[in-house]
């Protein structure tokens, strides 16, 4: 009896230490949808980054004789009304859409985490910061986004060039209108963490506030932040396409998935298949990201992970 117990404890001691992230990965693997979603999202990201270098037709190349063609070997997704290759435009558009999604998500995460940690950690700032968050939650976001873009589009275009100007504007407006959920979740977690013993211990050895936040609080609120990161990407991609779809996003010679969809709706009666590609790309990417988020939520929740 004691022999066996000793043996197993020795075995446990010999087994190489497993970090928490291996457990998370093991749990994540059991979620089929999340795994497929992650693979698909990785595929999309690689395709839009590397694809334009490999594919031989440029996204701006106009071949007016080959306009309005159905999908063929030379043009896998067909061509548009100016004879531009839809496949090349999809790759380029995906690049912009994914870039907007990731950058806007990063911006909103940084902002949301900052507000959440500060509000949770410093008691004096909690009230004002949370009222501020509530006020932001009460703003009508889509109408405001449209209004902001209408008002600031031209000056920013003049300042940074037509493409990067609108990129900065769209990333910025999506970022500053989607940080509220993250801030609330992070604040809640920080408030709960503050009552734990290790925080008390850290404080009693004289850890300064800055260290306290970067060393003890931030690593522990990482999991909700990661989940809201995935949801943030999905949200940002949808918002960008919605803005482009309403004609208030990127200019038409600069493709994004939403813009391609918007342009294709003009030819809905003649070439209905043209709306399918960008629509499918947006939907599948968002679906994949949402599944990743679902899997991550399960994987990062210690109560579920053990089972």
């Amino acid at each position: 009896m004691t022999e066996v117990a000793k043996k197993s404890s020795v075995e446990q001691a010999i087994r190489p230490p497993r970090s928490q992230w291996w457990d998370v990965w093991d749990q994540f693997k059991t979620h089929k949808g999340a795994l497929v979603g992650a693979a698909f999202f990785l595929f999309i990201v690689l395709a839009v980054i590397i694809g334009p270098y490999i594919w031989h037709i440029g996204y701006e190349t106009i071949d007016i004789r080959a306009r309005n063609q159905a999908p063929s070997f030379a043009h896998p997704f067909g061509t548009d009304q100016l004879g531009r290759d839809t496949f090349a435009r999809m790759l380029k558009g995906g690049q912009t859409s994914v870039a907007v999604g990731v950058t806007a998500m990063a911006l909103s995460l940084v902002f949301g985490t900052f507000i959440g940690v500060v509000a949770g950690y410093f008691k004096k700032l909690d009230g004002p910061l949370m009222r501020f968050t509530d006020l932001f939650l009460a703003l009508p976001l889509l109408p405001l986004l449209l209004v902001i873009i209408m008002l600031f589009r031209d000056p920013l275009r003049a300042a940074f060039g037509p493409e990067s100007g609108i990129f900065i504007l769209i990333v910025f407006v999506i970022g500053i209108t989607s940080w509220m959920q993250t801030a609330r979740i992070v604040r809640g977690d920080v408030l709960a963490l503050k009552e734990r013993e290790f925080i008390l211990a850290a404080r009693s050895i004289g850890t300064p506030n800055r260290r306290m936040i970067t060393r003890h609080l931030l690593p522990n609120v990482l999991s909700p932040i990661m989940v809201s990161a995935t949801l943030g990407i999905a949200n940002a991609i949808i918002t960008e396409s919605a803005l482009s779809f309403l004609g208030l996003g990127f200019p038409s010679d600069f493709p994004t998935w939403g813009r391609l969809l918007f342009d294709a709706t003009d030819y809905l009666q003649q070439y209905p298949e043209r709306v399918i590609w960008p629509g499918l790309a947006i939907s599948l990417t968002v679906l994949a990201v949402n599944y990743i988020g679902d899997g991550l939520r399960d994987a990062l929740d210690p109560r579920i992970r053990g089972r």
């Binding site: 703003l139 009508p140 109408p143 600031f152 031209d154 939403g258």
Partner: protein
């Protein structure tokens, strides 16, 4: 309860003031000149007169206060006038659209029915579909029904409405030709034939929005049911010998409806905002489409008013959700 309601009502006032300030300042700080579209041949002193006529020569805070006054005092008085045929509001300056030179609120009143019909119906339908789906998928967790429901609702909120809408148009208008792709607002329902036409043109936009809403609400319903199904009081109810139907419908469903009802209330204004896209897809000339045309025409008073109406809707439904929560859950009321 009255105390609770009054406290919440008072808290809504600063929120509304803040939002109106944000909207006003946003348009104020924005570069661009309302006189930009006036022809260059108009001499500068005439332009100056036109500015004065629009009240643009006043300092910012005066214009803000005037706008607030117009919005909260003059417009409600005109509403009362038009409802009861009184003449209190005569001679008062209303909010005028720069596009049509007519009062903004009159145009808004013309557009509201279309939005309400399409958006409201789809929301009600979405909620009605979502609740049973959520209940069944939670009761039979991990069954085929649950898996399927989860998958469909995942699709429902991943696929943006502007794609589902366009897809439906491609299938049902272009290929099959069953439904019209453009919503005809001039259609008056007076007999059976026009009624079927009206139903036909409403099916697609309502379906798109209903799918989207049902996806979200059914997730909440499922999660909330799951939370309650494992509670001790459910075991007690079963141990008392109550039938399974009574346990689920009377005990569990009632308790899990509390968060869901507030989610439904909170979702209403977002639906109005989200409907901007659907209205654009199906060419429904409702509030959303009005906002888009006003933005494209640089019609600032219209944009201001519409954005503010959306903001009021959000604050109002937040308030309703809060009060509903207090009514449904006594623990909230007494904190």
């Amino acid at each position: 309860m009255l105390n609770f309601t009054i406290r919440r009502l008072l808290m809504a006032i600063p929120t509304l003031l803040f939002i109106s300030l944000v909207i006003f300042l946003l348009l104020e700080l924005a570069p661009g000149d309302p006189m930009a579209n006036v022809p260059l041949t108009v001499p500068p002193d005439v332009k100056e007169k036109m500015r004065e006529a629009l009240g643009l020569d006043q300092p910012t805070y005066v214009r803000f206060l005037k706008w607030i006054q117009q919005f909260f005092w003059v417009e409600p008085i005109h509403l009362i006038d038009s409802l009861f045929g009184t003449h209190w509001g005569e001679g008062m300056q209303r909010v005028i659209s720069w596009q049509t030179r007519s009062p903004v609120m009159d145009i808004v009143a013309q557009r509201i029915p279309q939005t309400l019909w399409v958006v409201g119906l789809s929301y009600v339908l979405g909620a009605l579909i979502a609740v049973p789906i959520g209940v069944i998928s939670a009761y039979k967790q991990y069954s085929i029904f649950d898996q399927l429901g989860t998958f469909i609702s995942m699709i429902g909120f991943s696929v943006p409405t502007f794609f589902t809408g366009v897809l439906l148009i491609v299938i049902f208008s272009v290929y099959l030709g069953w439904f019209p792709s453009i919503y005809d607002t001039t259609l008056k329902v007076h007999d059976w034939h026009t009624f079927t036409l009206q139903v036909k043109q409403m099916i697609m936009p309502v379906f798109v929005l209903a799918l989207y809403n049902a996806a979200q609400i059914s997730r909440f319903m499922r999660a909330s049911m799951l939370d309650n199904l494992n509670q001790d009081y459910v075991r007690t109810a079963r141990a008392k010998g109550l039938s399974e139907k009574v346990v689920v419908v009377v005990h569990v469903l009632r308790n899990s409806m509390i968060p869901v009802v507030t989610v439904i209330a909170l979702g209403v204004p977002q639906v109005f905002g989200g409907a901007i896209i659907t209205e654009q897809v199906f060419k429904v000339n409702g509030l959303g489409q009005l906002l888009i045309t006003a933005i494209n025409a640089n019609d600032l008073p219209m944009v201001q008013t519409l954005t503010f109406i959306f903001a009021i809707l959000i604050v109002l439904f937040n308030l309703i959700a809060d009060i509903l929560y207090g009514v449904l859950d006594p623990r909230i009321r007494y904190d």
